[in-house]
């Protein structure tokens, strides 16, 4: 029922508004802004750009990056974002998921999970924004997927790191395994390189959305033709 095409944005403010307009007009169903200006050291972040995005967007959008507290989340949501996405801060302090869900409702609380296959097991990694700081969290992906739901996550974005940036398709086996244990919406991330990859992930892994960044960013795939392709493949998408 619910299929989306998303992008993640590594740009800084100047181009964001223009990109937001472009993707909105092309028919994106939801946008995710990955705020890489939010430093891992926790210095204060200027979030006024969120208001400017909210002014022009008439579709839902999520802000990821730099949200470490209820106060951070409150600022992001008050500025007009619909959802907040947390990743490493949730690993560092799992109770944050519950606090956010209690305060704002599960529907606002997205947990991003960076998962990599090693020796046949899926493992969760943290601080993947900075390759020099990326470390194994000690958690098996399936365990973390269950735990974040129990703690109140309303959506899971599963970023399959083996596929990230290689554009050879989404990690269907991993997504199938996590789909089977996700009672909340599951969004596929990592690996999109061709239109067929989107139809595969929707039909084979029954995900609720497919997130992609670089293929949209570089103009390799345009959202309008992608949606027409998905419709012709029998996948229900918003026109």
């Amino acid at each position: 029922m619910v299929k989306g095409v998303r992008f993640r944005n590594h740009e800084v403010v100047g181009g964001i508004i223009e990109l937001a307009r472009r993707y909105r007009d092309e028919g994106a169903d939801e946008l995710v802004f990955y705020d890489i200006t939010a430093s891992p050291e926790g210095r204060s972040v200027d979030r006024r750009w969120i208001t400017r995005v909210a002014e022009v967007l008439d579709i839902p959008f999520c802000v990821a990056g730099g949200i470490r507290s209820v106060a951070d989340a409150e600022e992001v949501l008050r500025n007009g974002a619909d959802k907040i996405s947390i990743n490493s801060p949730a690993l560092a302090q799992p109770s944050l998921i519950t606090e956010l869900a209690r305060r704002f409702g599960s529907q606002c609380v997205v947990v991003g999970i960076d998962s990599r296959e090693e020796n046949g097991a899926y493992r969760v990694y943290r601080n993947t924004g900075d390759p020099s700081k990326t470390t194994f969290s000690g958690l098996a992906t399936a365990d973390w997927v269950r735990e974040v739901q129990a703690r109140g996550a309303g959506e899971i974005v599963l970023n399959c790191m083996n596929q990230d940036g290689v554009r050879t398709g989404y990690d269907i086996p991993q997504l199938q395994e996590m789909r089977a244990i996700s009672a909340v919406p599951l969004i596929a991330s990592g690996g999109a390189g061709a239109m067929e990859h989107f139809s595969q992930v929707f039909s084979a892994a029954a995900v609720d959305g497919a997130l992609a960044a670089s293929v949209f960013h570089r103009g390799l795939i345009h959202i309008g033709p992608l949606k027409a392709f998905l419709r012709s493949a029998g996948i229900e998408v918003r026109p």
């Binding site: 619910v2 909105r24 579709i59 008050r78 619909d82 704002f104 606002c108 309303g154 959506e155 909340v184």
Partner: protein, 207 residues
Amino acid sequence: MNQGTAGSGPGKVAIIDGGGANIASLRFALARLGVEGELTANPDAIRTASHVILPGVGAARAAMGRLRQTGLDELIPRLTQPVLGICLGLQLLFEKSEEDDTDCLRILRGIVRRFDPAPGRPVPHMGWNQVVATHSSPLLAGVPDGSYFYFVHSYAAEIGTATVGQAVYGWPFSAVVESGNFVATQFHPERSGPLGARVLDNFLRRY
């Protein structure tokens, strides 16, 4: 501020302040239509508005608690100008919600029930879904039947006498309701693209 006369456009638009954090998107959507919405919990400001919007994010029990604190639970059912409920704002118009077994405003007959997760049907119901008109309503004027709107909810009102538009998520539920001066959408018109803007515009100019 748009000061249109009755029938041609809204006068003062009051957005009932239920304490939720995320009202900005609704205000911006109104601004894109050239209308300034005043976020308020003041009974006089609400009573004298030409149009009233009851938005809703969060949980039913907390939202009803806040309305009771300010006496708005008594005021809202007696309003005579057009009132638009959005999302939780739709659910609060009904008698009761299964969410923490909450008594609601009892403007509309019916119960708000929880979605049960099932394979292929995660909860919350979050994303774009089709709305089919079951009765004609000015709120859906110019909206093609089967259009997609953006939903985010774990509870929904069953189909009832006030239902004018339905969507299906496991079971058919009220996506749009209308009864007298009360109308409401379970979806978020402020996040539903150009057709959502049409619904908001219809509320402001056709009611």
